[in-house]
Amino acid sequence: MLAYIIRRLGLLILTLVFISIITFLVFQILPGDPVQTMLGPDADPIRIKTLRHQLGLDQPLYIQYGHLIEGFIRGDLGQSIRFSMPVRDLIFDRLPLTLSLAFMSLIIVIFVSIPLGVIAARRENSWGDLLLSIFTQFGMAIPSFFMGMILILLFGSVFSLFSPGSYVPWSEDFWGALGSLLLPALTIAIPQIAVSYRYVRNGVIEQGQMDYVRTARGKGASEWKTLSHHILRNSLIPVLTILGLILAEVVAGTIVVEQVFSLPGIGQLLITSVSYRDFPVVQGLVLYIAFVIVVINFLVDILYSVLDPRIRLK
């Protein structure tokens, strides 16, 4: 177990270094200057020159990168060019939103796809099952920005239940935050529900035919007990395999969906920072996302070994 953790940590550091260098190289190729982009064509050229100098942007890129890495080692993510704020503050400010969005999406995926999958499996080839298959097929095919727009239109314009951009933090208004995150979370969740649902359904069908299910029934276990205690746990093992993928999709989904719903989260910050060539922020965010994904995979691995005793971490 210890060896496993050490190997994982090594892998994490390697990944981060690699990703940091890639980001740096991409920024070298990208045309555009952060200060000019921020101030636009009406800007006073003298002001632009001065600000570039103050930010150290007139230095060669490798020196700028060197400063950044030096900062990282000291635990300092640097200063945003676009927002003139510490990158760490910017990220931590948005973290609660993005994390709760991702978490909510995940909860929705789990709480919708598992019951749906089980119901469909129990009524295999019935017409509810068929209908669900068609729906989920759609759910997977619709791109999330489009799904988001449809939901905004439906709940915002038609039912007037929701107003985009009215996000309030959890600390200020719990129900308000929940309300403003529900649709975005749903947008992220729907395609993933479709994916997960299929795995649950197929898993339950497949596991339902296993010998141990007959054994359980033979002991006198009720249908519910057989399902919940025996079939479900086994069917969730393949679901867990894709859970890592789903989580990665959810994290990626927040980027698009925050944009569509104008939510001030990590994703929106990332897109803005790229378009403003705000290298320190992009660097920080990319590292953060890589870190999250690696940690998620680590957690999935652990969960996997908890759920399936045949698997032991090596």
Partner: protein
């Protein structure tokens, strides 16, 4: 300790598939006496498993018991509610299966799976359930039962798994144990140990056992009485003694002939010619007729009746119709007493 505990009469179980009705079991009648070991033999596909699942009420879609009765201590299980069946399963009638590895849930510990049974039928405390489970594991001859409780199935060998399965089936001390080819997947030495174990349990708890196998050799070793099944029907029934000494049905004779005899060292084994017909394939006459060396012209026309003898033996063959003493499907089958032959387990 005698008396009938289970009585199956004219059981018919069919599967309703895309190709129409498949009568997996079309006419099975037998009695199980208290404390006896009843062997059920027949080639693969003749309906042995479906018969036992029918008794357990575990025939799955698209299968269904479509006819006959299963009387357990006077109650007709074909009419029993789902709840009643749940109470009977595991508690009064338990079953063990051919492949012990896949019959255990891979994600639960041996202990949890053993104790589940107690939890379902007896409101036992966790502590006493644990103690009982450990005792049970010890009784089936598993070493270090305490540790074993925390093991997962994949950590055990096939033989150990089958012992666990037996322990699991026995934990609620059922009156009837159905063992569906419990030794087929195991190698010969383990097989012998398991047979010994079953004999012992039968003796100690007076549990009635339906022992299903396609191996007549095994039957000879542990059974008191035997049913021979062919194509969803019981074709012959009798005590070990009469069946092996004087088999009546040509199919039974064929089966006995094809048992390899170690002493004679024959070059080639005898095997019954022809293919096993699938259920429902033969619509008219005796389903064995096409493979039967002694088939008469009318065997292809008339479905043979189930001829019962006073000593409890029975046969389903036209060859014996002339000498029949009694032709009735509901006739009384003579009492059967078996000679006690104490033996040490392991």
């Amino acid at each position: 300790m005698t008396g009938t505990i289970l009585e199956v009469s004219q059981l018919k179980t069919s599967f309703f598939t895309e190709n129409g009705e498949v009568p997996a079991v079309s006419d099975v009648t037998f009695r199980l006496e208290k404390g006896e070991i009843l062997g059920v033999v027949g080639e693969s596909g003749c309906g042995k498993s479906v018969t036992s699942l029918s008794i357990m009420g575990l025939v799955e879609q698209p299968g269904k018991v479509v006819g006959g009765h299963i009387a357990f201590k006077g109650e007709d299980l074909t009419q029993a509610s789902a709840k009643k069946m749940r109470q009977i399963r595991g508690n009064d009638i338990a079953m063990i299966y051919q492949d012990p590895m896949s019959a255990l849930n891979p994600v639960h510990t041996i202990g949890a799976q053993l104790m589940e049974c107690l939890g379902l039928h007896h409101k036992a405390t966790r502590k006493s359930a644990r103690r009982q489970a450990i005792e049970c594991l010890e009784r089936v001859g598993l070493p270090q039962a305490e540790q074993l409780m925390h093991y997962y199935p994949h950590q055990l060998s096939g033989g150990m798994c089958q012992r666990v399965m037996i322990a699991m089936a026995m934990i609620c001390e059922p009156e009837v144990l159905i063992a569906d080819e419990p030794t087929t997947a195991l190698d010969v030495t383990i097989q012998a140990q398991i047979l010994e174990l079953m004999k012992t349990l039968n003796r100690e708890f007076n549990t009635s056992i339906i022992f299903i196998t396609h191996d007549l050799g095994v039957v000879a070793e542990i059974c008191d009485r035997v049913l021979v099944m062919y194509n969803g029907r019981v074709v012959e029934q009798g005590t070990i003694h009469t069946l092996f000494k004087a088999p009546k049905h040509p199919y039974t004779k064929g089966l006995i002939q094809s048992v390899p005899d170690v002493r004679e060292k024959k070059q080639r084994l005898y095997s019954i010619p022809g293919m096993v017909p699938s259920p429902g394939e033969i619509k008219k006459g005796c389903p064995f007729a096409p493979r039967c060396e002694r088939a008469l012209a009318q065997c292809y026309e008339i479905e043979p009746p189930f001829i019962k003898y006073e000593n409890g033996d029975a046969v389903r063959c036209l060859l014996y119709e002339a000498e029949k003493k009694e032709v009735t499907t509901h006739g009384r089958i003579g009492d059967f007493t078996r000679s006690p032959q104490p033996k040490k387990v392991f």
